[in-house]
């Protein structure tokens, strides 16, 4: 008998998420974001959240939905353009913002999930990002010490998943999801297709089920495109 991580629905998946918690949310822009869980967080009306996510959504989609309801106290991100409400809350001081270089953000999540408390990186040395951080020379080049990140809940979105919690992502919707899945005390995976055990090829698993505590099949994915660029035939 294999361990099963299946929960009935998004409500069961998000059970236990409370005010003041730190959440990680996968996605790059609107690509690969956990749409179902974000809607549920709005419904739950949890407040004072610290959200670790590469971006903050747009005004009316993604994390922008939580911003609208003022549920987020602090954002930890690398890029927060394309969101007017975000900018307003940040400039007025309602929202605390910690901007982190994208590669450092990814590695800090990975480190958090991998049991590495901190690491040195050249990114941000000599800039605001490096202020107050330990500097050490390696190969005659200055590096700054960056700390690992973990979260009370990591919420990720995958293409396919199985009852064991194994996940496969599609295209560039993978992005931050695998590292965040590793770094949650509880990791929730919402998937487009929940398939029976044994269906996924073990050679093709991106996130092994050990990192996932709860999995469910989401529905009504909008998968909004932020910048629709095409060429003519």
């Amino acid at each position: 008998m294999a361990i099963t991580k299946i929960v009935a629905n998004v409500t069961e998946a998000c059970a236990g998420i409370k005010d003041n918690m730190t959440l990680m949310l996968g996605g790059f822009g609107l690509c690969g974001i956990p749409e179902n869980c974000i809607s549920e967080l709005v419904k739950l009306e949890v407040k004072n959240l610290t959200c670790i996510s590469n971006n903050a959504g747009v005004d009316d989609f993604g994390l922008g939905l939580l911003l609208q309801k003022k549920q987020i106290k602090k954002m930890i991100s690398s890029y927060v353009g394309e969101n007017a409400e975000f900018e307003r809350q940040m400039l007025s001081g309602e929202l605390e913002v910690d901007l982190i270089p994208q590669g450092s953000l990814a590695e800090r999540c990975r480190a958090g999930g991998a049991g590495i408390p901190a690491f040195y990186t050249p990114a941000g040395y000599g800039t605001e990002v490096g202020e107050g951080k330990e500097v050490r020379m390696f190969n005659s080049k200055p590096h700054i010490l960056e700390m690992a990140l973990t979260a009370d809940f990591a919420i990720v979105k995958a293409w396919k998943g199985d009852p064991a919690g194994n996940l496969i992502y599609k295209g560039t919707a993978r992005n931050f999801n695998p590292m965040m899945a590793m770094a949650g005390k509880i990791t929730i995976a919402e998937v487009e297709e929940l398939v029976p055990l044994g269906t996924l090829n073990p050679n093709e698993i991106h996130t092994p089920g050990v990192f996932v505590q709860r999995i469910f099949q989401g529905d009504s994915y909008e998968k909004r495109i932020e910048q629709r660029t095409v060429r003519t035939r």
Binding site: A123, K223, R233
Partner: protein
């Protein structure tokens, strides 16, 4: 005549070498992909997790799960690969990507670059720019020589919050190609029809002008 954005991209494309893995930033750098010299094979990396990026999709073929770092819908070419963000920046920090082209608001004669924040006005975040400039060996900045107010963006030292220090080697603007060496900008080329005097007058940083400054060859 000063170059337009496509002209800048065309000039930078001449820096591509066969077998290069290249990361193109948002804006003018993206246009470089349109001018790959004939007989040269390069592969484009986008830091959100794709190598082997192709052109924009045909209308109707857009896929929400397939975008570049500018969040634009893209396609992939045969041989493409997807990966997570940590792997993506391992490629960048680990120097597996040979050329980075990015835009800037300011560049200093020491190779410092500022492109992520205007205090009190614009704070969008650095995205992947700080990781890119801190690690890439070969960084070319693509930008206009002056800002909209007509002030030089080629400075003695940057006034805006820095993205990276001492990292930029080359700058291609609408007016000139500049190399940064030993705390100065070396004027390598001027845009077709642009005079050395105009470049000198629009450059605030220390500029070394050789006796002969050839025009860019964009044919």
């Amino acid at each position: 005549m000063a170059l337009d954005k496509n002209g800048i991209a065309k000039r930078i494309a001449q820096e591509l070498q066969d077998g290069y893995y290249v990361n193109l930033g948002i804006g003018i750098p993206t246009l470089v992909a349109n001018y790959i010299p004939e007989g040269i094979e390069v592969e484009f990396q986008s830091e959100n997790g794709v190598l082997g990026m192709g052109p924009f999709p045909f209308e109707g073929d857009e896929d929400a799960d397939l975008i570049n770092a500018g969040k634009q819908t893209i396609t992939t070419l045969p041989g493409a690969a997807f990966f997570d963000s940590a792997t993506s920046f391992a490629m960048i920090r680990g120097k597996h990507v040979q050329l980075t082209v990015l835009g800037a608001m300011e560049v200093s004669q020491h190779g410092d670059i500022a492109n992520w924040k205007i205090p009190g006005k614009m704070v969008k975040g650095m995205g992947g720019a700080m990781d890119l400039v801190a690690s890439a060996e070969n960084i070319i900045v693509a930008m206009m020589h002056t800002n909209r107010a007509g002030d030089s963006k080629i400075l003695e030292s940057c006034t805006l919050p820095l993205t990276g220090v001492g990292c930029v080697k080359k700058v291609v603007t609408d007016l000139a190609t500049l190399e940064i060496r030993d705390g100065a900008f070396y004027l390598l080329e001027r845009a077709p029809g642009v005079s050395v005097d105009e470049i000198v007058s629009k450059t605030d940083g220390r500029l070394i002008v050789p006796h002969l400054v050839p025009e860019m060859n964009l044919d």
